[in-house]
Amino acid sequence: MTETGTDAELRSPGQLSDPRAERALAPRRWLGLRKGRPGAEGAAPRRPLGVLTVAAMVILLGWVVLAIAAPAIAPYDPLVQSGPYYAPPSGAHWFGTDQLGRDILSRIIYGARLSLPLAVVIVALALAIGGGLGLIAGYIGRGVDEALMRLTDLVFAFPQIILAMAVSAAFGPSTRNAVLALVIVSWPIYARVVRSAVLSIRSSDFLSASRMLGVGPWQALRRDVLPNSVGPSVVLASLELGNAVLLLASLSFLGLGPRPPAPEWGAMIAAGSTDLSKWWVSILPGVAILSVVLAFNLLGDAVRDWLDPRSRRTR
C-alpha cells in the first residue's frame, strides 16, 4: 500500500530550520539513490507503484491531455456566450453556463491551459532562482550566506498570500505579474533547501577527501555538490506544484491574476460566489482545482518516497 500524505505548507520562523526542508534532505549521490550493501538493513527495495500514485498519474495525464486537446475536446468556445445566462447543468451544457452565458465545462477545460503550465513555470523559475542563490550562498558561505538567510527571513515574514497580493497589486494585475508575484513568494524555500544540502555536503568527509585529492573548487561544485542538491530540489519542486496551483487560484479569486475573460478557475469561483443558488458556477471549477492539486500532492509524495526512502521511518 503506498504512502499517502504531503508535508504541510511549512514556513518556519527565522533561525529555525524548515521542517519541510529537512524532510527533503539526506546526503546522497545522484538523485538520491542510496547504494546499500546487498542484503544490508536500510537498502530499500524498489517498491512497485502504489494504487494512489497510479491514480494520481492518471488524473494528471488526463488533465494534460485535456489541456493540449482543448480546442478539439471542449464543446464550446470558452470566451463566447453559447447559452442562456446561468443555465443549470443540462444535456446541452453538462456543467451549465456562467453569468455571461459561457459554457462552464469548456471554460474549465481551457482553464487547464492556464493553471498547469503556469504552475510549472512558477516552480521552474523559483527553483532556478532560489536554487541558484542557495547553491552559491551555501558554497561560498559567510557574508553571502548570511545575507541570503536574512533575505529569506524577510520574505518568510509575510504570509504567502498577503505578499503575493501586495506584489501583484503593485505591479498591476495580469498573468505575467501574477507569475512574478508567486515566484517572488516561493523562491526562498528552494534557496533554503539547496543551501542546506550544500552545507551538509561541504561538511561531509567525501568532499574533503576529493579536495585533498586535488579536485579544484569548481570541479568539486560540479561533481560532488550539484548532484547531491538535485534530489532534495526535485522532491521539493514536486511538492510545490500543488501549492503553486492553489496560490494562483487564490490570486485570481481576488481578481489579481490573469485578466478576464481568461477562464482561470479561481476567478470562475469568485464569479459564482455571489449567488449560491447557481451552485454549478462556483463548485465545479473548485472540483477541478481539488483534483489537480490532489494529484500533484500524491505525486510529490511518491517522488519523495522514491528518492528518500530513509525518511519513511518517520512518516
Binding site: 515574514a157 504570509p159 497589486a169 503593485a170 469561483i269 449560491l276
Partner: protein
C-alpha cells in the same frame, strides 16, 4: 569538564570539600541564560521588523505612476491643497532615503496611509476590523491546536494501521482544497440546502451589536448580560470557524504526526516504559513533553495558516474583518490599504514568531544554552 566532574566520572569521591566543587550552580544559570536568550531574540526581531518596513516601502515605490493618483481618492486629487499636503507629508520631492525615513517616522506615529476606498486612515480602519478577525482566529486557533495534536499523536501511535492511513488521507484532502472554495461549499450545504446556518455576517439583522468593550461580539454580549445575542454570535461563528479549523488542521496533522513519530522512536521513551511506567503516563509526560517543541512550532504555523485563510474566507461569509478589508482593497486596487494591511500582518506574524522562539527556549533547556 571540571576536575571534579572528571573525578565523578571515574567514580572517585570529589577531592576536597563539598559545595564549592561539583556541578556549577545550575538553577541560577538557567535564569540568566533565559534572559539573555530572550534578549537576543528580541533584537533579531527588531531587525526583521525594520526589514519588513523596507520591503513594503520598496513595493510602494515600484507602483508605476504618480503616488498622488494611486493614494488619493478622485475628489481629493482635484484639490491642490490636499495634494500639496500629501506631497509634503510623504516627502515626495526628496531623495529616496529621506522618503524612507519619513515613511518610517509616519509609521511609528501609527500613520499607515489613508485608504482610497474608505477615505479613513488605514490604521483606524484596521482598528475597526481587527476584533472581528480575532473573534474568528482565536477559537479556530485553539480548536486546531487541540485537534491536530490529539489526532496527530493518535495517528503516530497507530502508525501504518487503518486509522493512520485514514487520517493522513483526510489531511491530504484538506491540504489540496482551496480555502475559498471550501467556504462556499460549506455555506451552500449548511445554509442553502439545509438551512441550519446563517448566511454570513456576525449577527442576525434583528439584533443590535452589543456595546463595544472588546469588539468581540461574543465576549461583549456576555459582559453586557445579553445571552441571546451571545448565542446568535456563536451561531454565526460556527461556519467560518469550522472551515478555518479544517484547513489548519489538515496542514498541521502531518507535521505533528511525524514529530511524534520521531519522539516515539527515541530510546528515552523505551527507557520510560522499561521503568514500569504505565503507557498513559509515558504518553502524557514523556512523549508530549518532547513533542511540545514541535507543538509550539505548530502553533506558529497554525497562526500563519489562519492569517492566509481569513483573507479569502471572510469575503464569503461577509465577515467584516481584516481579511475582508484586504480582499476589498485588492479588488479595488486600493494600494495604501493593501500595503498597510500587508505591513500590519507581517508585523503581527513576526511578533508571533518571536513568541514561538522564546517559548522554545522556555520548554527545551538545551536550546537556551546553545
Amino acid at each position: 569538564m571540571t576536575g571534579a566532574q572528571a573525578d565523578a566520572d571515574a567514580g572517585r569521591p570529589p577531592a576536597g570539600t563539598p559545595a564549592a566543587a561539583g556541578p556549577a550552580p545550575v538553577v541560577r544559570r538557567h535564569r540568566r541564560t533565559l534572559a539573555r536568550f530572550i534578549g537576543r531574540k528580541v533584537l533579531i526581531t527588531l531587525g526583521l521588523l525594520l526589514g519588513v518596513t523596507v520591503v513594503t516601502f520598496l513595493l510602494v515605490q515600484l507602483v508605476p505612476g504618480d503616488p498622488t493618483t494611486t493614494n488619493l481618492s478622485e475628489t481629493a486629487q482635484k484639490d491642490p491643497t490636499i495634494v500639496a499636503a500629501f506631497r509634503a507629508k510623504w516627502g515626495l520631492d526628496k531623495p529616496l532615503i529621506v522618503q524612507y525615513f519619513t515613511y518610517l517616522g509616519n509609521l511609528v506615529h501609527g500613520d499607515l496611509g489613508v485608504s482610497q476606498s474608505t477615505g479613513d486612515s488605514v490604521l483606524s480602519d484596521l482598528g475597526k476590523y481587527v476584533p472581528a478577525t480575532l473573534e474568528l482566529a482565536i477559537p479556530a486557533m485553539l480548536l486546531s491546536l487541540v485537534i491536530s495534536v490529539a489526532v496527530g499523536l493518535w495517528a503516530a501511535v497507530r502508525k501504518d494501521r487503518a486509522t493512520d492511513h485514514g487520517i493522513r488521507a483526510g489531511a491530504l484532502l484538506g491540504l489540496s482544497t482551496p480555502s475559498f472554495w471550501l467556504a462556499i461549499v460549506v455555506l451552500y450545504v449548511f445554509f442553502y440546502l439545509l438551512g441550519i446556518a446563517p448566511n454570513g455576517g456576525r449577527l442576525s439583522a434583528k439584533y443590535a451589536p452589543p456595546t463595544h468593550i472588546t469588539g468581540l461580539y461574543t465576549v461583549d454580549a456576555l459582559l453586557t448580560g445579553r445571552p441571546v445575542v451571545f448565542w446568535d454570535a456563536v451561531w454565526h461563528l460556527a461556519l467560518p470557524v469550522l472551515v478555518l479549523t479544517c484547513l489548519t488542521v489538515s496542514a498541521l496533522i502531518r507535521f505533528v504526526r511525524s514529530a511524534m513519530l520521531e519522539v516515539l522512536d527515541q530510546d528515552y521513551i523505551k527507557a520510560a516504559t522499561a521503568k514500569g511506567l504505565p503507557r498513559r503516563v509515558v504518553l502524557r509526560r514523556h512523549v508530549l513533553r518532547a513533542g511540545l517543541v514541535q507543538v509550539v512550532t505548530v502553533s506558529g504555523l497554525a497562526f500563519a495558516s489562519l492569517l492566509s485563510g481569513t483573507v479569502l474566507i471572510e469575503q464569503i461569509y461577509s465577515w467584516p474583518g481584516v481579511g475582508q478589508y484586504a480582499y476589498r482593497a485588492a479588488v479595488n486596487l486600493d494600494l495604501p490599504a493593501i500595503m498597510g494591511v500587508g505591513l500590519f500582518v507581517a508585523l503581527v506574524y513576526t511578533l508571533v514568531n518571536l513568541l514561538v522562539d522564546v517559548l522554545y527556549g522556555v520548554i527545551d533547556p538545551r536550546i537556551r544554552l546553545s
